[in-house]
């Protein structure tokens, strides 16, 4: 039982179904959730199981549908609003940033807005500039919003359950390249609490904090580095707001080096926040060397050769970490094939 494996997508489906089973106020809506694809299987046929009022498609109307989620939440429901891309959240910023984030505070707790906003991060197969963004730092910036970006199937299930039960708006980020990753997922219902980072691998030479799909790349980097005798500690923050700076700073203080790898741009990004917060916190002790890696400072190009250069990879992360540990002059580059999940992806979109 404890050894049962699910994919990340299956874990999301299971969390949703279990919570819908438990709590009749939970419902799912968004473009395509009840179609034959069911958002990569994560919502597949939920309407058949729970009725068409609890898993339904909507018109194309991201802004108003977010307002609908907020209004339904005010009335005691727990909507899960699903978006096929994080990029589309740019259409809902007004409701998310100006309303949902501020409702509890503005009305001194008289209302709450327990909405879960699921957003898929696109990558590979020519997603291009408008279907590949993460943009989580925009949400991390705004008090009143929670932001989670689980990486493992285990955390996907536990974070989604926690998000559904949370009395606040939660942005739940799913990277499409993670959907097919397998991992042990307990069948029982459990919550992964927000604000607790996960140390995925221990090491003494450098701390690598990686976000969302970059965790997978960081683990690849770790393997490359080990061949060189460099031992990296890899930390997955899991939840970005709240952010577990204690764990990260503790590790960075110990290793003396902190490399933050984000699935996003670095400027005013999560990586900037992590480095600033760690630096502020550690200045009376051992100040670590710090560096950031993220998207190239450009919109995401469509053509594959440029897209390959756009993202950090196990290779570029390893090279950067190597230079931080062994000194800047190093021009070591590990041998590495293209990541399978990226190379093999052909859809669905």
């Amino acid at each position: 039982m404890a050894e049962r494996e699910l994919t990340y997508a299956q874990a999301i489906y299971e969390a949703t179904a279990q919570e819908m089973e438990r709590d009749p106020s939970v419902f799912v809506f968004g473009l395509g959730v009840d179609d034959p694809i069911g958002l990569y299987g994560t919502t597949l046929d939920l309407h058949k199981r729970f009725g068409p009022e609890r898993n339904f498609d909507t018109p194309l109307a991201e802004d108003a549908m977010t307002g609908v989620a907020v209004g339904a939440a005010f009335a005691g429901l727990r909507p899960i609003h699903v978006h096929q891309r994080m990029d589309f959240l740019m259409l809902c910023m007004n409701q998310l940033v100006n309303v949902a984030a501020k409702a509890s505070y503005t009305f001194a707790g008289a209302v709450k807005a327990p909405i879960v906003v699921r957003g898929v991060i696109g990558r590979s197969w020519g997603q291009g500039p408008q279907h590949s963004q993460s943009l989580h730092s925009m949400f991390m910036h705004v008090p009143g919003l929670k932001v989670v970006a689980p990486t493992t199937p285990h955390d996907a299930k536990g974070c989604l359950i926690a998000a559904i039960r949370d009395d606040n708006p939660v942005i739940f980020m799913e990277h499409r390249m993670l959907y097919n990753i397998l991992g042990i997922v307990p069948e029982r219902v459990y919550e992964v609490p927000f604000g607790k980072a996960r140390v995925l691998a221990s090491g003494d030479d450098i701390t690598i904090v990686a976000i969302s799909h970059m965790v997978v790349e960081a683990l690849r980097a770790k393997a490359h580095l080990e061949a060189e005798g460099i031992y990296a500690e890899v930390i997955d923050p899991v939840s970005l707001a709240p952010l577990d700076i204690e764990t990260i700073a503790g590790s960075a203080e110990r290793t003396g080096r902190l490399l933050v790898v984000d699935n996003d741009w670095t400027g005013c990004g999560a990586s900037a926040e992590i480095i600033a917060a760690v630096t502020e916190r550690l200045q009376d002790g051992r100040v670590p060397r710090v560096a950031r890696l993220g998207f190239a400072p450009a919109p995401c190009p469509t053509t594959k050769p440029l897209e390959n250069l756009f993202y950090p990879t196990g290779r570029t992360i390893a090279t950067k970490a190597h230079a931080m540990v062994r000194g800047g002059g190093s021009d070591w580059v590990p041998h590495a094939a293209e990541a399978a999940e990226i190379a093999e992806f052909r859809g669905p979109f």
Binding site: F27, E53, T58, P59, A61, D63, A64, M65, T66, G67, V68, A69, V70, G71, A72, A73, F74, A75, G76, L77, P79, N94, Q95, N98, V99, A103, S104, Y105, T106, F107, A108, G109, A110, V111, K112, A113, P114, P143, G144, K146, D167, N168
Partner: protein, 354 residues
């Protein structure tokens, strides 16, 4: 009738007093809308007059106090537009729910929002309906069925739709009302909301208070089709337009609409032509700005709905009602004066719920 209103006022003050103790209860009284059937046209007229007059006098008192800087906050007064809120809310049950806007004093009071908590909120005090954090633009009284208003035009429209969705989802027979201005109908979210409400046949009444202006901009400079109720046709939604701001006509239309909605016939749309007497924000007039004419203002004031319905009442009745209203208002302002400011710990309280 006099005695009934008297008793009711007692209830109201009791409720307000309990709010002062931090227990927020819905006020009960004849200003409390709906539910009761009209036991004769005179009682109906009294109810409407009283509710409108009360709002008018509250706004006037705000205007009077404003120059003292006790209300350090923008106030978008409802003066002149009372009939829309009162006409519609009178057709509602207490457990029906209203979403409105930053110009929300009238709707808040018409739906039964606590007056003391409102004035204290304007004063930024701890006994305000949101402990002073919200101010005039974000009134709320959940117990009275009045949801928090927004200072971003249009945002409460889809929220009202979401609330109506929840009512249908829960098989409750409650009706949700979305109040908004003419300007809000230009925002895309209005259309998205109308389409979805129609599609899902939600129990919602859309009420557009068309006061001809968005700040200083006339509706004809913002739309070639000035009859905004026509926009409902895109969604096959029943719609009516009340041209003259008459509270009885508004009330009759609202009753019709609310009944149909409660029968499960889906959403309806009412456009109420109305007029704002004061400037867009703050006390006093604004003819000096030149964007509207004195004669336009005079025309609307000549058919002031409060005066009109007031004339239909016997003078003693009116005198009594007016006196009660003055007492209640004086009490609310005194309450606000006495209430303390929130403590510094409130600065970061309730950012997250629970």
């Amino acid at each position: 009738m006099g005695s009934r209103s008297n008793t009711s006022r007692q209830h109201r003050i009791d409720a307000a007093a309990s709010a002062a103790d931090g227990q927020r209860q819905p006020p009960v009284g004849i200003a409390q809308p709906g539910a009761q059937a009209d036991s004769g046209s005179s009682e109906h007229a009294v109810r409407l007059y009283r509710a409108m007059r009360r709002i008018r006098r509250v706004e006037e008192q705000i205007e009077r106090v404003y120059p003292t800087d006790k209300i350090k906050s923008p106030v978008h007064l409802s003066t002149g537009q009372e009939a829309a809120s009162v006409g519609v809310c009178d057709a509602l049950r207490p457990d029906d729910v209203v979403f409105a806007t930053y110009r929300g004093h009238a709707a808040y009071l018409a739906k039964g929002g606590n007056l003391r908590a409102m004035i204290a909120e304007l004063y930024g005090k701890a006994d305000g309906c949101a402990r002073g954090k919200a101010g005039s633009m974000h009134l709320i009284d959940v117990a009275a069925g009045f949801m928090g208003t927004s200072a971003i035009v249009g945002t409460t429209i889809p929220q009202a739709v979401g609330h109506a969705f929840a009512m249908k989802y829960k098989r409750a027979d409650r009706v949700t009302v979305a109040f908004f201005g003419d300007g809000a109908t230009e925002e895309g979210t209005f259309h998205e909301s109308m389409n979805f409400a129609a599609l899902k046949r939600l129990p919602i009444l859309f009420v557009c208070e068309n006061n001809l202006y968005a700040i200083h901009s006339h509706v004809r400079d913002r739309a070639v089709e000035p009859d905004l109720s026509r926009r409902a046709a895109s969604y096959r939604m029943p719609a009516r337009r009340i041209e003259d701001g008459d509270v009885l006509a508004i009330n009759a239309a609202a009753k019709d609409a609310v009944e149909a909605i409660r029968r499960g016939e889906g959403p309806q749309f009412i456009e109420v032509m109305t007029y704002r007497y004061c400037r867009h924000v703050g006390p006093g007039g604004d003819t000096v700005l030149g964007y509207r004419t004195q004669s336009e203002i005079d025309q609307w004031k000549a058919r002031d709905p409060i005066a009109q319905i007031g004339e239909s009442l016997p003078i003693p009745t009116r005198t009594m009602l007016d006196a009660e209203i003055e007492i209640e208002i004086a009490d609310a302002f005194e309450f606000a004066e006495r209430s303390p400011f929130p403590g510094g710990d409130e600065l970061v309280a309730d950012v997250f719920h629970g």
